[in-house]
């Protein structure tokens, strides 16, 4: 594998440029969030304090955490059960179910939002946490089911046969044989669902429009940046960093799992 030295240099240079472009926008809001209102050039955290109190981001981040946790926990639980059955049992109508869920994966969910709003209004759930949690579980189920089904189908049949020989019931096999080895697959699924749910915007805009107490972080940021557009952009930048911070810090820890999960899992 001999390649000219100049090619090595050129490729790395292009890669550096591509990476710099990828990082620059976030870096630029971090920098402007630390800039003081005077032009002395000194760094300050005052913008964060200002954004935190004016924009109500404490409550927004708590709402996001609650909604995301609920959506991810329920989705993973029901997806494990369904994925197990679809991988190892003869489920009646399984082809139709998988076909419908495949549609669910590529669907523009704009098509669901108006009836969702009316349905949740009928149930008196608009402007509550449940209005955000329930539909997002439904929308996350296809990804979760495909993910867990692919994992359970990859478990060697011998392992299940051996447990069956020992007289284990189907649920015992699920709980005591499969779940203990499903950790890595579930962890990647949790990471992906966490990311999608945390960043969800349209559903929040439509389903909790009036109640500030349940508004999620991206929605709060959207309102705040709209209202503050004419005012100090450094404070808006600080608010944006606050909203991105939980995701970015989780990403620092989980990036390997997330990237390989999305790039390799998507192809499956």
């Amino acid at each position: 594998m001999k390649v000219a030295r100049s090619e090595v240099v050129i490729t790395h240079t292009l890669l550096l440029i591509a990476t710099a472009i990828a990082v620059f926008p976030f870096l630029s809001i971090v920098i402007s969030s630390l800039r003081g209102s005077d032009s002395s050039g000194s760094l300050t955290f005052a913008n964060y304090a200002e954004a935190w109190t004016r924009g109500g981001f404490g409550s927004a981040l708590a709402s996001s955490a609650l909604v995301t946790t609920a959506v991810v926990a329920v989705t993973v639980a029901v997806a494990c059960l369904a994925g197990y059955a679809m991988a190892h049992m003869r489920v009646p109508g399984v082809k139709i179910m998988l076909g419908a869920m495949l549609l669910g994966l590529v669907l523009p969910y704009e098509v669901t939002v108006l009836p969702l709003y009316q349905m949740l209004a009928d149930w008196n759930l608009i402007d509550t946490y449940l209005a955000l949690i329930l539909p997002q579980i439904g929308l996350s189920v296809p990804l979760g089911v495909f993910w867990m089904r692919a994992f359970f189908a990859s478990v060697p049949k011998e392992l299940l046969e051996a447990a069956r020989m020992d007289g284990a019931s189907r649920f015992i096999i699920f709980r005591s044989v499969l779940m203990p080895i499903a950790g890595p697959a579930i962890a990647t699924l949790v990471t992906i669902l966490f990311l999608f749910t945390w960043n969800e915007f349209l559903l929040a805009l439509i389903l909790v429009p009036q109640n500030e107490a349940v508004q999620t972080a991206p929605l709060a940021l959207s309102f705040f940046s709209g209202a503050a557009r004419a005012s100090d952009p450094n404070i808006t930048a600080a608010a944006a960093v606050l909203v991105a911070l939980p995701i970015v810090s989780a990403y620092v820890v989980l990036q390997r799992r997330l990237i390989s999960g999305i790039t390799e899992g998507a192809v499956k």
């Binding site: 472009i21 630029s28 669907l107 704009e110 098509v111 349209l202 970015v248 990403y251 990237i259």
Partner: protein, 329 residues
């Protein structure tokens, strides 16, 4: 252990045969599937069916709905504003799907030839645009593209002061500017998808090609591209669906403006359904958008599906697929 394994094999084989004939379903398995299915049906399938139903009515959401047949659909295809919005979507397909795939292929192709130093770092940083909320992305790009933002400062510094403007506020540049943000969001993802595909290509193929005297372009066209078929397909599906829905980014940058220069179907769906109280039209547009998405995704999958006999003649196809998108838009 060996005995039980052998026995386990045999019932397996016969059960496979049975599957083809009349089936013996496990009805109790439905208990395992039911919770997931219930969430999916109630919060995805039922709303879709409702949207289709509402699309055949004129309705303000308050007074009684009047059935109007297909007139909402006729409206979608004849109203100039709607047609303009659909054409904006096609422009965005170029920026959100075609361009990132081409950039991703170019970079991944270069990287396939050498050992990359600091690959983990590059991967992590290039993926960053994917993890940020679209609202955060919108806030940061609004800053960059603003009249006194870093982009215009740079242009002035290199003597291009005459072309500076509020990029998102200008009728001529708002749509391409949003397209550029979309390209930025997607190219890292595409590149990483292709890199993970390249990692699974047998290195000896490259060695053999080089022994035959193949140059870098020949190597890319005859080995790298054909092997990346599944990754190109998935990259196009992810980017195309993102381009066609794309409400968040536009709502938080231009809200469809200035004028209607960046209006796309999802913006009209939101405005018609929740601000103008034209529920029938909003639903018809949503149904059209859904069908359009499914058709385009279907075409991509058909065009890039794995041919059963990986014959050499199939190699040019993936190279053309991104180009096809370009011509459409």
């Amino acid at each position: 252990m060996t005995v039980s394994r052998a026995e386990a094999k045999r019932p397996e084989a016969s059960s496979k045969r049975r599957r083809q004939g009349s089936s013996r379903y496990s009805w109790s398995s439905l208990f395992y599937v039911a919770p997931a299915l219930a969430f999916f049906i109630v919060f995805v399938i039922v709303p879709i069916v409702q949207s289709v139903r509402i699309s055949f009515y004129r309705w303000d959401g308050i007074t009684a709905a009047t059935p109007v047949g297909f007139s909402n659909y006729v409206e979608v295809f004849t109203n100039p504003a709607m047609r303009e919005a659909l054409s904006h979507s096609l422009v965005l397909l170029f920026f959100y799907a075609a361009l990132p795939v081409v950039i991703g292929l170019f970079l991944a192709g270069l990287m396939s030839r050498i050992r990359i130093y600091g690959l983990t770092w590059f991967r992590a940083l290039l993926f960053l645009p994917q993890i940020l909320s679209s609202v955060v992305v919108a806030v940061s790009w609004r800053d960059i593209l603003a009249i006194d933002g870093p982009l215009n400062e740079t242009l002035r510094a290199v003597g291009l002061g005459s072309i500076t403007r509020a990029w998102l506020g200008d009728f001529g540049t708002a749509l391409p500017a949003i397209g550029g943000i979309g390209t930025w969001v997607e190219y890292g993802l595409c590149m990483l998808l292709f890199l993970s595909g390249i990692a699974s290509i047998d290195r000896s193929l490259y060695e053999a090609a080089r022994l035959d005297g193949a140059g870098p372009i020949r190597e890319f066209v005859s080995i790298t591209l054909p092997s990346l078929r599944p990754q190109i397909s998935i990259a196009l599906i992810l980017t195309i669906t993102f381009a066609l829905r794309n409400f968040d980014l536009i709502w938080n940058t231009t809200q469809g403006g200035p004028g209607t220069s960046t209006a796309v179907p999802s913006v009209y769906i939101y405005q018609d359904a929740f601000q103008n109280r034209l529920l029938g039209e909003a639903s018809a547009l949503a149904v059209v958008l859904t069908v359009l998405t499914l058709v385009i995704v279907g075409i991509v999958q058909l065009a890039l599906r794995e041919s059963p006999d990986r014959a050499p003649r199939s190699t040019p196809e993936p190279a053309q697929a991104p180009g096809k998108e370009e011509r459409n838009s």
